[in-house]
Amino acid sequence: MAIEDDVLVIGGGLAGAIAALSAADADRGARVRLVTYKQSTLRHASGLIDVLGYAPDGEGPLADPFPALEGLPRGHPYERVGIDAVREALDFFDGVVGDAYAGGHTDRNALVPTHGGTVKPTARYPTSAAAGLASDDRDGLLVGFETLPDFDAPLAAAHLEAAGVPFDCRGVTLRFPGIVRDDAKVTRYAHLLDRNERVGADALEEAAITTDGGEIGSRDALAAAVRDRLADETRVGFPAILGDERADEVRADLADALGVDVFEVPMGPPSLPGIRLEEMLYDALEAAGVRVTSGVPVVDYETSAGGSDRIARVVVDRHGAEIPHRAEQYVLATGGLVGKGIEADRERFVEQIFDCHVPHADDRYDWFVDDVFGEQPYARFGLAPDHELRPLDANGDPEFANLRAAGAVLGGYDYAAEKSGAGVSIATGYVTGTRAAEESG
C-alpha cells in the first residue's frame, strides 16, 4: 500500500510549513504530509517577517507596505496572489505564532536595528526585538561581548546614530560570565542562560563582577555585568542569544534585575530567532496533525497514465529505500538558490525535482551585474507561476495541473533587495496550502 495523502508539501522552510499548516487547517480538514530534505534556511534567517521594505525600484524604506503592493510588476509573487491573500496570510501567520511575534497591530513597517548597526524595515518581529524598535525614542544601551565578534556594540551604536535614529545610543563590550571558550557557539550562550547555569567565583572575577561571594546563576551574573555600565538608558539590547527554549523567561529575568526593557538584536547564522521560529512552526505542524518526515529527498516523480499533466506520485528516498508517496495535490517549497530548490550549472538554471521551467538569461555573464548590490538578475531567477501559483512551462501553460509552488523557489522578485522574503513565503505558502486543500477535497 502506498503512502497516500490529500496534500503533499515538499520542503520544510517557512513557505512549506505555512503551506502545510494552512492545508491542514481544521476548516479544510485535508490529510497533509510534509517531507523535507535539507536543514531549513530558517536558521540562516534573522527571524524577522519582512513583507515589503522597499519597492522594486528601490523606493523606501516604506512606512506602509500595502499601498506599494498595488503597484508591483506583473509576475511578482504578490501580484500573482493579490493583496487580500497577503493580508489573510499574515493573519494566519499571526494566529500560528501568537504572542511570540508583534507588529500585527498596524499595517506599518517597523525599523529594527540590525547587528551590522543600521535599521531595516520589517512587518512582524519577534517580541524579543520589540523593545528595540528604532522609532521608539527611548535612549538605549547596546551590550556586546568580547567573544562574539559578529556584533560590536559600540560600533553598532555609532552606526545607528549615523542612520539618524531619534534617540541616544551607547554601546559597551563585556566579557560574558560563564563562557569559557573564545569560540563557543551561540547556542552555548543560549543554553547557559536557558538553564541558568551557575557561574563560579573565578569566572565572575574574570568578568569583573563583584558578588557577596560564591557562585550565582548566569542570568544574575549577566545582569550584574551590565548593571555597572548602565547609565540612564531605559532599554538594553543584546545580540540575539538570550536563551532558546526559555527565551521569554531569560529576557524577563534580565529586565527585572536591571529595571529596564530588554531586547535582542537579530543576528546572522546560526540565528536563534530563526531557530525559535522553526521550532514554533514544527510544534504547530505536529499539533495540526501534519505528518512530517525529515531528512528525505524526493528523487523522482511519475505522472498519471496516458501522458497526463497530473503528478501521480513522487518517490522519496528514505535511507536508500525508494518509497512512493501519492497525493491529490502537491506543493513545491524547496527554496531558491540558498535552499537549493533552484540550482545552476555553467549553462542553465534548473528546478531540482520536477525540472519546471526557470526563465533566465542564456549567457551566464548576463546572470549578474558588476555592482554587488545592483539589480542582480540571479536573485530573481525562479519559477514563473500563474495566479494559482502553478509553475508555468516555456509556453505559459501549467507544468502540472496539481502542482503549486511557494516561497523562494518562485522567481520574479529579489527578496534581499525588497526585504520581502518571509512575506512572500507566508503569502504563497498560505495560498498554495489553501488551494491544494480545497481542490483535494
Binding site: 542612520a163 539618524g164 540571479y378
Partner: protein, 566 residues
C-alpha cells in the same frame, strides 16, 4: 611637502619589495611607493607556483637553472611562505613523446632533480589524475604565498629603516634636463598607514636614484619622464577551486598552451592560465571562455575538476618585455627573462632604471642584480645578504614546531595560524585577551587580524592578503563584517563602513566568474545576509552610496511602527 631619500623604489610588488629590502639591508636609505596595496599589481594575481625550473627546461635553460637555484634559496629564507608540494609534468597520450624526453633531459642538464614515473605511479601519488595519463616527470615544484612573501620583504625593509608607502600613486616623475631626481605622489590618505576618509596629500620625494619596478605599468611611469618602455602586458586567468583536488603541482607536459597547470595552494587549488596580450594593464576583458577553458581543459588531466566548486577567478597581467627589434608575435613566445633598462645608457637620461619582464620565483635574484647595479651607480660597496638572511617569520623554523604551545586555540586553528605566522606566531598570538576566530573558513583569529591592521591601517584588503581572512569558501560573506568590526574603535564608524564596503566589493568581483553551482548558492546567501539581514544595500546611514559621509537621508522615523502602545 618634500622629502629626500637615497633610493626611491616605485612599485610594491615582489620585485619592488625585494629591491627595497636588499638596498635597505645594504645600508641605503630607501623609500618605496605603491599605488594601491602591496602585491596589488601582478604579484597578488598569479598562481603561486614556486618553479622548480622544469617549466623552462626545454625552451630556456638559463631561466630553468636560475629557477632551481632560487627555489632552493627561498625554501631557506622564506620557509613560512613555501609549501614544498612537489610537482609533476604529466603526459596524455596525445602529447608528444619526444617533448617528454627533452623535458626530462633538460631538467637533468639544468640541475633540476627529475624522475620519470609511469602513469600508474603518478596516479598512486595523485589518485585523481586521469586514467589515460601515461607518464609523468617528478620535479621539486612548490607552492608559495606571494602575499606573505612580498609583505615579509616589505616588513624586513622597514625593519632596516626603509619607508614603505602604500596607496601613494606616482603622478609625475621629476625630471630636470637629462636627470630624473624624484617623483610626485598623491597619497590616498595620510601619508602613513591607510586611513579611509582622511584627506590625502601630495608629496615630492627626491632621491639620488629612482628604480622603476612597476612591471606591467613601467611604460606608463617612464612616459612621465618622456621615456619609452615598450612593455607588452599579457593577461592570464586563474580559477580557484574550493578544495585541493591535488596535493602536487600538476603541469601538462607539452610545449605551450592555455590551461596547463594546477597549483595546490593552502586549502584551495588554483588553475591557470591564459596568455593574451592586452593594451592597458588596468583595463582588459575578463572573458567567460577563459574560465571555461581552465575547467574544461584541465579536466583532461584531473576529471573531477569538471564537477568541482570554484570560488572565484581572477586575472593577472605579466610584465612581458623584449627589445622591440625582436618583434615576437605570440606573447607565449616572449622570454620570461628580465631586463634592466639603464635609461642613462639607453636614452641619455640619468637617475632612473626600469625593470621589466622576469618572474616571481626569481624575484630575489633580480632584486640582487638591480641592487648591485644601483649600488654601482651610487658608488656603494656592500655585499648582498638576501640569499642567506631569513625573512621575518622564517627564522629558526625548524625549532618552531617543538617548543610552541597552541595559544589556547583549537588545534586546526592553531596549526594554520602558525603556518601563516611562522616564527612571529608567539609575538602575534600570545594574548591575555579573548581571541575568538574571526574567519572560520581560514582559521584566522582576532589577534592575527589586529596584527595585520597594525601593519596596514584601515584597509581590509591589506588585512586579507596578510591573513587570508575572507579568502575561503564563503568569500567573506560571514567574516567581512567581523573583520571590519576589529577596526573599531581605533577607526571611526564611517571609516569602518567604507572599509567593509570596499572588501565586500572586492570579494564579489572574483565571485562573478564563479556564479554557478555551490558558489552561486553561497553568493545568494552572502547577498541575503548583507542585504536582507543587515540591510547594508539600503543603509539609511549611507544615504548617498557615493558619499558615505553624507548625512543620513531625512528618514522619518515617526512614520514607522514604534511598538504597540507607543
Amino acid at each position: 611637502m618634500a622629502t629626500e631619500t637615497d633610493v626611491l623604489v616605485l612599485g610594491g610588488g615582489s620585485t619592488g619589495c625585494g629591491i627595497a629590502r636588499d638596498l635597505a639591508m645594504r645600508g641605503l636609505e630607501v623609500t618605496l611607493v605603491e599605488r594601491y596595496n602591496l602585491t596589488d599589481g601582478t604579484t597578488g594575481r598569479m598562481h603561486g607556483l614556486l618553479h622548480s625550473g622544469g617549466r623552462y627546461a626545454v625552451s630556456d635553460r638559463e631561466s630553468a637553472t636560475e629557477c632551481i637555484e632560487e627555489n632552493e634559496i627561498l625554501r631557506n629564507i622564506a620557509g613560512h611562505c613555501v609549501e614544498m608540494t612537489g610537482g609533476l609534468f604529466v603526459k596524455r597520450p596525445e602529447d608528444s613523446d619526444s617533448y617528454f624526453r627533452e623535458k626530462l633531459e633538460g631538467c637533468r642538464e639544468c640541475g633540476i632533480p627529475a624522475r620519470a614515473l609511469s602513469g600508474r605511479e603518478a596516479r598512486e601519488r595523485e589518485p585523481y589524475l586521469a586514467e589515460d595519463v601515461s607518464r609523468a616527470i617528478e620535479v621539486p615544484d612548490g607552492a608559495v604565498d606571494p602575499f606573505r612573501l612580498c609583505v615579509a620583504n616589505a616588513l624586513d625593509a622597514e625593519a632596516h629603516g626603509a619607508r614603505i608607502e602604500t596607496h601613494a600613486e606616482v603622478v609625475d616623475l621629476l625630471r630636470e634636463g637629462a636627470d630624473v631626481y624624484g617623483v610626485r605622489v598623491r597619497h590616498d590618505s595620510g601619508p602613513g598607514r591607510r586611513n579611509h576618509g582622511t584627506s590625502g596629500s601630495t608629496e615630492e620625494i627626491t632621491a639620488e636614484y629612482v628604480v622603476n619596478a612597476t612591471g606591467a605599468w613601467a611604460g606608463q611611469i617612464a612616459a612621465m619622464a618622456d621615456l619609452e618602455v615598450e612593455v607588452r602586458p599579457s593577461k592570464g586567468v586563474m580559477t580557484i577551486m574550493n578544495v585541493r583536488q591535488v596535493d602536487t603541482v600538476i603541469n601538462r607536459c607539452r610545449p605551450k598552451g592555455d590551461a596547463d597547470i594546477i597549483v595546490p595552494h593552502e586549502t584551495t587549488a588554483i588553475l591557470g592560465t591564459t596568455d593574451e596580450e592586452v593594451t592597458d594593464p588596468d583595463d582588459y576583458p575578463e572573458a567567460e571562455w577563459e574560465v571555461d577553458t581552465m575547467i574544461d581543459t584541465l579536466s583532461e588531466l584531473v576529471p573531477i575538476l569538471s564537477e568541482a566548486r570554484t570560488l572565484r577567478s581572477f586575472w593577472g597581467v605579466r610584465p612581458l618585455y623584449e627589445p622591440p627589434e625582436r618583434g615576437t608575435a605570440d606573447p607565449t613566445d616572449i622570454t620570461r627573462d628580465f631586463f634592466l633598462l639603464d635609461h642613462d645608457e639607453r636614452d641619455g637620461v640619468s637617475g632612473l632604471v626600469s625593470i621589466v619582464g622576469g618572474k616571481f620565483t626569481t624575484y630575489r635574484a633580480m632584486a640582487e642584480e638591480i641592487s648591485d647595479f644601483v649600488c654601482g651607480k651610487l658608488g656603494v660597496r656592500a655585499a648582498c645578504p638576501t640569499a642567506e638572511e631569513p625573512l621575518p617569520g622564517s627564522e629558526n623554523l625548524e625549532r618552531l614546531e617543538d617548543g610552541m604551545d597552541d595559544f589556547g586555540l583549537r588545534s586546526p586553528i592553531a596549526r594554520r595560524s602558525k603556518q601563516r605566522l611562522g616564527s612571529r606566531s608567539r609575538a602575534v598570538l600570545e594574548t591575555d585577551e579573548p581571541n575568538p576566530v574571526i574567519c572560520p573558513c581560514e582559521g584566522v583569529t582576532r589577534a592575527e587580524v589586529r596584527d595585520a591592521i597594525a601593519q596596514s591601517g584601515s584597509d581590509l584588503n591589506a588585512v586579507r592578503i596578510r591573513t587570508r581572512a575572507s579568502m575561503g569558501n564563503c568569500q567573506g560573506g560571514f567574516c567581512c563584517g567581523p573583520m571590519a568590526n576589529e577596526l573599531h574603535p581605533d577607526y571611526d564608524e564611517v571609516t569602518v563602513r567604507r572599509a567593509l564596503d570596499e572588501l565586500f566589493e572586492e570579494r564579489w568581483k572574483g565571485q562573478r566568474h564563479a556564479l554557478w553551482g555551490e558558489q552561486l548558492s553561497q553568493a545568494m546567501l552572502n547577498y541575503a545576509l548583507h542585504a536582507t539581514t543587515m540591510n547594508r544595500d539600503r543603509d539609511p546611514a549611507s544615504a548617498d552610496p557615493s558619499d558615505p559621509e553624507a548625512d543620513a537621508a531625512s528618514l522619518e522615523y515617526a512614520a514607522f511602527d514604534a511598538g504597540e502602545g507607543r
